[in-house]
């Protein structure tokens, strides 16, 4: 018997909506999960993905991808490649493994929710493939990280990190619970596949794969590339959903895009920014984080949202100014609070590295140079102790990252300013104006307690550095430290050093 042509049967497996007779439609697609809002129910019948996939095609393609990724892994396992990788790059991968592996699993739950409550059969079909994709990503990321556990205990955080109360993870959980777990599926399709995946991760994965190859980590590049091809397919759930929402409720569409973009941008500043501008060895850097964001995220994102009839988010100027500031402040915070990390953060401020930073970010020396100089002088005075934390950074109530964003005054000085909000008998603090605004509009949504809130509420005992590290699940074998103090301080040995911590001068 001859097989039917694809176009002759595709409709039967794709267009599977029917009219219910035993139950009401809103019992099957309740508003709190399906979220049609002001969009008429019948409008969703126009939902159409850009390119269509059948299950046999999906299975065949995925099988090939898996076989290829694992074949490369098996071949490289017998080589000594890992031993020759720079610790800066290794730490970028440790951060990635711990920060991403089980976020991929949260994405399985998000895709499953869209596969169940999506308002069009084709959308649910695409989300079914999407959840299989995300399951594969959770597995492949965990498995690839697991290979190195025997060589370095920090890789154990590939699987462990997401289960801990480490502040980095609390920040990611707050972001992704808001993006992947809590929303109705309409908002979710716009936050996750459209804004986060199309706007950020697709492009970051391309850049990360390229950085991996540049750093000699073929295995990681292979894993990332394999994942990225799935993202490119299932992220297309966002576009058709946004198109329909913009037509019927453009105000809601704009708000959902705006807040997802902001949350994604804050997380990227913390994780991708330091990896690109500080951890990657100077000779392997192809572009700065700002250049990467401008070329790969900003230009494409603005063009895309304008194509859908939306505007740049209201916080655009604050975001653009932050490209010169956010990740540099976060780099200093990650480095200073390094015992709380499951990787070894490079300081990356030798004279050559600073010259590169100053070229890419003309205000870098003015805003950060003086503070790194004091840290350098302490290290060179054998007073590393003065460069270790004795209290917590204040964590923003929205993004849960340290409040460390300097802004310039009219007199030219740079200062970190407070963005407070008194609400419900309590004072909240935010790192930026937009984080405060998003909290205010979304205050009844998911807002985890920050680590500072937990500390002050007595949830962390004993109330000292040891108690905090224990609460975060940190153990001595995985605790972060600078991989090579001398690498970035030796250029400055012997210079006069006034005004450093007392311990160093005694």
């Amino acid at each position: 018997m001859a097989l039917l042509k694809r176009e002759e049967w595709q409709g039967f497996v794709r267009d599977v909506d029917w009219t219910y007779t035993y139950v009401d439609d809103d019992a099957v697609f309740p508003e709190w999960h399906s979220g049609t809002g002001k969009v008429p129910r019948e409008a969703w019948s126009a939902w159409e993905e850009d390119y269509k996939v059948s299950y046999p095609e999906y299975v065949a393609v995925q099988r090939d991808k898996e076989a290829s990724a694992y074949a490369v892994k098996a071949a490289l396992q017998r080589s000594s490649t890992f031993e020759h990788l720079d610790e800066g790059w290794k730490s970028a991968t440790k951060m990635h493994f711990g920060g991403v592996a089980l976020v991929e699993y949260a994405a399985v739950l998000a895709e499953l929710k869209m596969a169940r409550f999506g308002l069009n059969g084709a959308w649910r079909n695409m989300a079914t493939f999407g959840q299989l994709d995300e399951l594969r990503h959770a597995q492949i990321t965990t498995f690839f990280g697991h290979e190195f556990v025997g060589k370095d205990a920090q890789y154990d955080w590939t699987q462990k990190a997401f289960h801990t109360n480490d502040w980095v993870l609390i920040s990611l959980r707050n972001l992704f619970d808001n993006m992947m777990i809590a929303p109705n599926v309409v908002d979710m399709a716009i936050e996750l596949p459209f804004t986060f995946e199309t706007g950020f991760t697709n492009l970051q994965f391309v850049a990360l794969a390229s950085d991996a190859l540049e750093s000699g980590d073929v295995n990681f590049a292979n894993m990332i590339s394999s994942i990225q091809t799935d993202e490119a397919r299932h992220s297309q759930q966002g576009g058709p959903t946004l198109e329909i929402l913009v037509e019927h409720d453009p105000v809601r569409a704009q708000w959902v895009v705006d807040k997802a973009f902001w949350g994604s941008a804050r997380a990227f500043a913390a994780l991708t920014g330091p990896a690109m501008d500080y951890y990657t060895p100077l000779e392997h850097r192809k572009q700065s984080y700002r250049e990467f964001m401008e070329e790969w995220v900003i230009d494409q994102f603005v063009r895309t949202i304008e194509d859908y009839g939306l505007r740049k988010p209201w916080f655009w100027d604050e975001f653009m100014r932050g490209l010169d500031i956010w990740h540099h402040g976060l780099q200093m915070g990650l480095w200073y609070w390094r015992p709380t990390l499951w990787w070894r953060p490079k300081a990356g401020v030798s004279q050559d590295e600073r010259a590169w930073l100053a070229e890419k970010y003309p205000n870098w020396e003015k805003v950060y140079g003086d503070k790194w100089d004091v840290l350098i002088d302490n290290v060179n005075a054998n007073n590393v102790e003065a460069t270790l934390p004795e209290t917590l950074p204040w964590l923003c109530m929205t993004c849960h990252l340290p409040c460390c964003n300097a802004t310039q005054s009219r007199d030219g000085t740079w200062r970190v300013r407070d963005w407070p909000l008194r609400y419900d008998g309590k004072t909240f603090h935010f790192c930026t104006n937009a984080c405060r605004q998003i909290f205010w509009k979304d205050r009844d949504n998911v807002n985890h307690e920050t680590l500072v809130d937990r500390f002050l509420a007595g949830q962390i005992q004993p109330m000292d550095v040891g108690g905090i590290l224990g609460y975060m699940g940190m153990t001595p074998d995985a605790m972060g430290d600078d991989p090579d103090y001398e690498a970035w301080t030796r250029d400055y040995v012997g210079r006069p050093a006034d005004g450093i911590a007392l311990g160093a001068q005694s």
Binding site: K371, V374, P402, D418, I500
Partner: protein, 97 residues
């Protein structure tokens, strides 16, 4: 009843502050008490930053709360500083120096 006592006569209460020291890059958590003077608050904030990330300068320090420069002998209670309030600690650099 404690409500009838003046703020200076009450037992010291813990006042966790959101604080920033001069040109430092980040706000930090600094616990003080209602009985601490502004001189002590400035020292408590400076302890985490001065000479560690911000080069120490030979000047007195001043606590600024909601735009007010508070006198060094004033207590947290008298200043009306509440738990979770923000304070800035600056060097009191004489004009022209």
């Amino acid at each position: 009843m404690t409500q009838e006592l003046g703020v200076e006569d009450q037992a010291p209460q813990l006042v966790p502050l959101n604080a920033i020291f001069a040109t430092d890059f980040v706000q930090i958590l600094v616990p003080v008490t209602t009985a601490n003077t502004m001189r002590e608050v400035a020292a408590a904030v400076a302890h985490h930053v001065e000479g560690r990330r911000v080069r120490a300068l030979p000047y007195d320090k001043v606590v600024i709360h909601e735009g007010r420069r508070l006198p060094p002998d004033m207590t947290v209670a008298a200043a009306g500083i509440q738990p979770l309030d923000h304070v800035t600690v600056e060097y009191d650099i004489p004009e022209g120096s």
